[in-house]
């Protein structure tokens, strides 16, 4: 798909030493249980740099739990996750962000009292370093840093076409725009892996088309690797390079969209047959 003509080219985050197509993240034999409830059982899959990886499956299959494990919100009881060649175990979500993993949520999780601009700027908190002393004076290095990040944020605002709501508190925005602001906030973190939890839930066709275009542009222009959960099969099959299918916490299929679509186990568990 071609990039939208008036989009600005946004450079990929610096310091990315992994070549396109190489292993970015590997999930190996991960199991997660809450008491007696097994959310994820022995799942392994990998994400390659530069691809769009979809995670699909029926409700309660463990998709969101899987994302929560990846970004450090849950710590799995068994298994390992290797991200950019480094294996990790217990960690906090803010560590994951520092490593370059950003995400959006199934239910919009924006800071409702803050403006669009502030929400996206908040996404850059980890990249800002100036001490409270300079910030109090709003001068010198602190102001320079603020302006430098503002320029980056304005690029994102431009890219997502949300200039008109820059100063609006996000609590007042319609749902589709909130989703877009949330994507902007995740992009502001300059992630090397972007996790999208149902980016198109509750959207109409036009909004879905817009969002699909943004996802593809992020992937192609910024080179950001994306792992997404989505229930709209048309979108999933069109966007993604590879698909992993979960059911009852277990992996039942993994492969290119066409393979997965024709896999009998997937049809039985999730896709069904057209009537």
């Amino acid at each position: 798909m071609n990039a939208h003509p008036d989009h600005h080219v946004i450079v990929a985050p610096p310091g990315d030493d992994i070549a396109k197509g190489d292993l970015l993240m590997e999930v190996k034999n991960v199991s997660l249980a809450f008491g007696g409830v097994k959310a994820i059982t022995d799942i392994s899959f990998d994400v390659r740099k530069g691809e769009i990886r979809a995670i699909i499956g029926p409700n309660g299959a463990g998709k969101t739990s899987m994302l929560n494990v990846i970004n450090g919100f849950y710590t799995p009881q068994v298994g390992t996750i290797t991200f950019r060649g480094q294996e990790r175990r217990a960690m906090k979500p803010h560590h994951a962000v520092r490593q370059g993993i950003a995400r959006t949520f199934q239910n919009v999780a924006l800071f409702k009292g803050m403006s669009t601009l502030d929400n996206i700027m908040a996404g850059r908190s980890v990249l800002m370093k100036r001490s409270i002393g300079w910030q109090m004076l709003w001068h010198g290095p602190a102001l320079a840093e603020e302006i430098e990040h503002r320029e980056k944020v304005e690029e994102i605002i431009d890219f997502l076409e949300i200039e008109h709501i820059r100063r609006t508190p996000v609590g007042k925005l319609p749902y589709g725009l909130q989703k877009r602001v949330e994507l902007g906030r995740a992009l502001a973190m300059e992630p090397s892996l972007l996790l999208l939890d149902e980016p198109m839930a509750g959207m109409n066709l036009e909004e879905k088309e817009d969002m699909s275009r943004f996802i593809l542009d992020v992937n192609q222009q910024r080179g950001t690797t994306i792992a997404l959960i989505e229930h709209d099969m048309g979108v999933v099959m069109d966007l993604s390079d590879r698909v992993v299918v979960l059911d009852y916490g277990k992996k039942i299929a993994d492969g290119a969209p066409d393979e997965v679509k024709n896999n009998q186990a997937v049809i039985d568990a999730y896709l069904g047959v057209p009537h």
Binding site: K92, Q135, L143
Partner: protein, 358 residues
Amino acid sequence: MFYRVAGQYKTSYQADYALFPVKQDALLLALILVVAFVVFPLTASDFMFRALLIPVLIYALAALGLNILTGYAGQLSLGTGAFMGVGAYACYKLVTIFPELNIIVAIALSGFFSAAVGVAFGLPSLRIKGFYLAIATLAAQFFLVWLFQKWAWLYNYNASGAIQVPNTQMFGVTVTGARASAMSQYFVVLSVVCIVTFLAINITRGRIGRTWKAVRDMDIAAELVGINLMKAKLSAFFVSSYIVGIAGALFVFLWRGAAEADLFDIQLSFRVLFIAIIGGLGSILGNYLGALLIVALPVIIGTVPALFGLPISSAMVEHLNTMIIGALIIGFLIVEPHGLARFWAVIREKLIIWPFPH
């Protein structure tokens, strides 16, 4: 017409980040500062300074401190009075141990003591939220006031158990103690309050302010955009308690002149909280509007009926005051949770398009 913002273009982000991007706001503030620094000192009486101007400024500063914690970072605190006490007692010990210390330096340093105590009592905020945290800070309130009474070293073993502010001078002018003039005290308080307000505005609009607001609005999402919750909450407790401590030191040294432990009881905490709520949580301006209302109301009730020849007893003033403030708080919580500051914001918006509202 007077507040027209059309035509004030910003061509750089630096211009957009000016303290007052709108020219009229800056003019209005300049006018207020001229009134505060020039007109009041030329016209106001000692009564006006001591009963109205100085307390308004000090209460506004205390409310500003609380507002950073509650309005910006979303952590409810009922221990403001006690934290003010920590600042006051710390300042008292500093000036008695180091009599040569400039009083402004002593006040600035005393804030660090209240900040440290604030952070210590803020530790529960890492585990608990909302009302439960309020109860934890309530424990700080009662414990600290008890400590002020029992730890005689704090008040230099005075038989009365009270701290008495010594006379100190700055640039040859007596600014604290019984010999200080109201006007010199007013200038000191006004200067401190202006500086702290300026710094507070900058903190709240920068990275740290965004971090606090993010924690307030949705702490889980804040963590998932990489904000360290512990740092964010404790820094809010630190900055808030620092400002509250300074306000406490000013409260005793430049206004009351003497203090007992009871001065810092829960009543004071509530009064500061009411100022922040009526003024507007999450706003800097609101603290001033709220303090003006809360401090001026009893003065108005006490003097205005007398002007019309209506005799009014002091007990009556107090009761009326309690009733009106109670009603106002209920009213604000229902009608406008963002307080007086939001009223001003609405008026300003209307002024910008007046007289052509379409």
